[in-house]
Amino acid sequence: MDKQVIISVGREFGSGGHEIAQKLSEIYKLPLYDHNLLDEMVEKTNLSNQELRALDETKRSKLFSRTVRGLNNSATHNVALLQFDFLKKKADSGESFVVVGRCSETILKDNPGLISIFILGDKEAKIKRVMEIYGLSRVEAQAAMCEKDRRRKQYHNSYCPGKWGDSRNYELSVNSSKLGVDECVKVICRYIDARIAGM
């Protein structure tokens, strides 16, 4: 690909957003950055991969953190900033990639190659998918879904002026429950192709 393309995929838990991002990375032959971003970052920090993952996409506790002249002591906050910095450096270097979550639609919005997508889903369809993939009961799946989405929303909204999942923050918002993952990928690819052609 001669033009720089950065595909940012935001997603609701259970919507298949991650799978869609994986398929897009395969189709466009682009590296995928999700929690594996932390694997690359682990060499540049003093924390283990496990410790970094515990701090990934989590909102900082206001009770246990304090801001002084724009600087904050929260480990969660500082790991988030390191990830944002890492993504910005990748984008500034001209690299094309697919990135899942991590406020990327806002962090990289000034990059002309950014295409931002949000994947949502119907509640029932998401519960079913979570039950199948993670082998959970209906109650467990529903609880996991609520918890994950709550954390993602809090994390996103604490760093971005726009709200998580608000269609105004993304170029394309797609409900994966209506078409299924594969058809969604086709629709999104048509959009991405049109965007690339117009770049």
């Binding site: 970052m41 920090t45 246990f64 304090r66 002084v68 600087l71 002591n73 480990a75 500082n78």
Partner: protein
């Protein structure tokens, strides 16, 4: 009664809002200050005089505000303009010093003087941190010291976290040594009429002895990591020359002279009669005049939010004082200590330390000054002993947790930018015991010296 209830509600709301960071803290204190004026003084007390006394503006236009022939105390009630003017002046001076590369030069020069050996850097940077924090705000000290520590750690291949934590602790400790080292001390000094000399011969001695203990403690706590790094010196010829840090040689010389003048003026202010408000204004004026076309950028870089935070805070605390709430707290401390002065000292130092470990020590100290004043008056205790106890408790207690003091937050965030994440557990494991040791040691020293 209504005024007292309103004053307490506003005060507690202010603390909660500061902690939650929903709005910036200066907006919180200014908003709460405005509510104090309207609700406490207007609705509750119906007293214009109380409001005027709290705003305290006329004090600026008195001779004693600028020049005090004898010992003169700013009224502890209301806005302490001397503190605000002094801090603003020092901010301008520090910005001037930072602009010309003074702090980076000093750090690099010391590292070079000890031949870039890790353990001597560790020891000298701790001492440097404490020394600079005696005269300059700890945020600036740590911003520069931590940045240079990280730079050296990359050159010398050592883990900078032990060094940054030690520097943070020493910055807080150094701040406790002088009247101008930490905002609580400036407020205590100007409110109760103590001089730089009073502080250095009391809290300064406590801080000096504690520094020796802390040097030993941190060396023992980090000895394995330090000894591992001790051999990593290698070829230092390619290391940056300290002179490269200086961006403007003429400005550098002028800034150094101004800084030395500030130190001399502060050390001798009891003898010269010049107040801290005068010193702050003079230092700022000289810095701005000698900065030429950079003067405007220096003014723009002043942390005006902190100054506004102080103004609002003083009004809210003034509300508590005018309504007599702080006298109630003072008599409560007097009652539970049963008139036992040593117990009173223990209560003040430990409550101050624990409170400062979790909440901003500036509002705490501002609140406690009228309390210790009242305690001294009603219990017959020497006010100065209570003042040194309060200063040490609030200044040192802040080191215990990552959120206890501004220097801690700045040190942690500066390290994090380079990938060195310091979590609560890692921080408290080393810093909380150090805090307990210093507070306990200080308490014992207060007992031995004053009783």
């Amino acid at each position: 009664m209504l005024a007292q209830i309103l004053a307490v509600i506003i005060f507690l709301s202010m603390f909660i809002l500061i902690v939650t960071e929903i709005w910036e803290r200066h907006i919180v204190t200014l908003g709460c200050g405005l509510l104090t004026l309207l609700l406490v003084f207007g609705l509750g007390m119906r007293s214009v005089d109380a409001a005027i006394e709290t705003l305290n503006i006329k004090s600026i236009f008195t001779t004693s505000f600028w020049y005090a022939a004898g010992e003169a105390a700013e009224s502890s009630s209301g806005i302490n303009w001397a503190t605000i003017i002094f801090i603003a002046g020092m901010m301008i001076m520090v910005e001037g010093m930072a602009r010309v590369g003074f702090f980076r030069w000093l750090c690099m020069k010391i590292a070079k003087m000890v031949h870039y050996r890790v353990i001597p850097i560790f020891v000298t940077f701790m001492i440097l941190s404490a020394f600079l924090a005696m005269f300059i705000d700890s945020i600036t000290v740590i911003l520069f010291l931590a940045a240079v520590t990280i730079e050296l750690s990359q050159l010398l291949k050592f883990n900078p976290i032990p060094m940054i934590l030690s520097e943070v602790f020493c910055a807080n400790l150094g701040g406790s040594a002088t009247m101008c080292g930490d905002p609580p001390n400036i407020i205590i000094g100007t409110s109760l009429g103590y001089s730089f000399g009073d502080f250095i011969t009391n809290t300064g001695v406590l801080a000096g002895i504690s520094l020796v203990a802390v040097l030993v403690y941190f060396f023992l706590a980090f000895r394995k990591e330090l000894q591992r790094s001790a051999e990593n010196v290698g070829d230092t010829s390619s290391f940056p020359d300290p002179k490269e840090a200086i961006t403007d040689m003429r400005g550098f010389v002028i800034s150094t002279v101004i800084f030395l003048c500030a130190v001399v003026m502060l050390v001798t202010h009891a003898q010269t009669g010049l107040t801290v408000a005068f010193i702050g204004t003079f230092i700022a004026a000289v810095t701005l005049i000698t900065s030429g076309r950079n003067a405007l950028s220096l003014i723009k870089r002043v942390d005006y939010k902190t100054l506004l935070f102080f103004i609002g805070l003083f009004v809210v605390v003034g509300g508590l004082e005018q309504t007599g709430i702080l006298n109630v707290i003072a008599s409560f401390i007097g009652t539970i200590s049963g008139g036992n002065i040593m117990l009173m000292i223990a209560i003040i130092i430990w409550i101050s330390a624990v409170a400062s470990a979790f909440i901003d020590n500036i509002p705490f100290a501002a609140t406690m000054i009228p309390v210790i004043k009242s305690l001294a008056a009603t219990q017959g205790v020497d006010l100065s002993i209570l003042a040194w106890t309060l200063a040490i408790g609030t200044d040192i207690g802040g080191s215990a947790t990552p959120i206890g003091a501004s220097a801690n937050v700045v040190g942690i965030a500066t390290a994090a930018k380079e990938g060195y994440i310091i979590k609560w557990g890692k921080y408290c494991k080393v810093m909380a015991p150090a805090t307990i040791i210093v507070v306990a040691l200080s308490m014992v020293m207060i007992y031995v010296r004053y009783f």
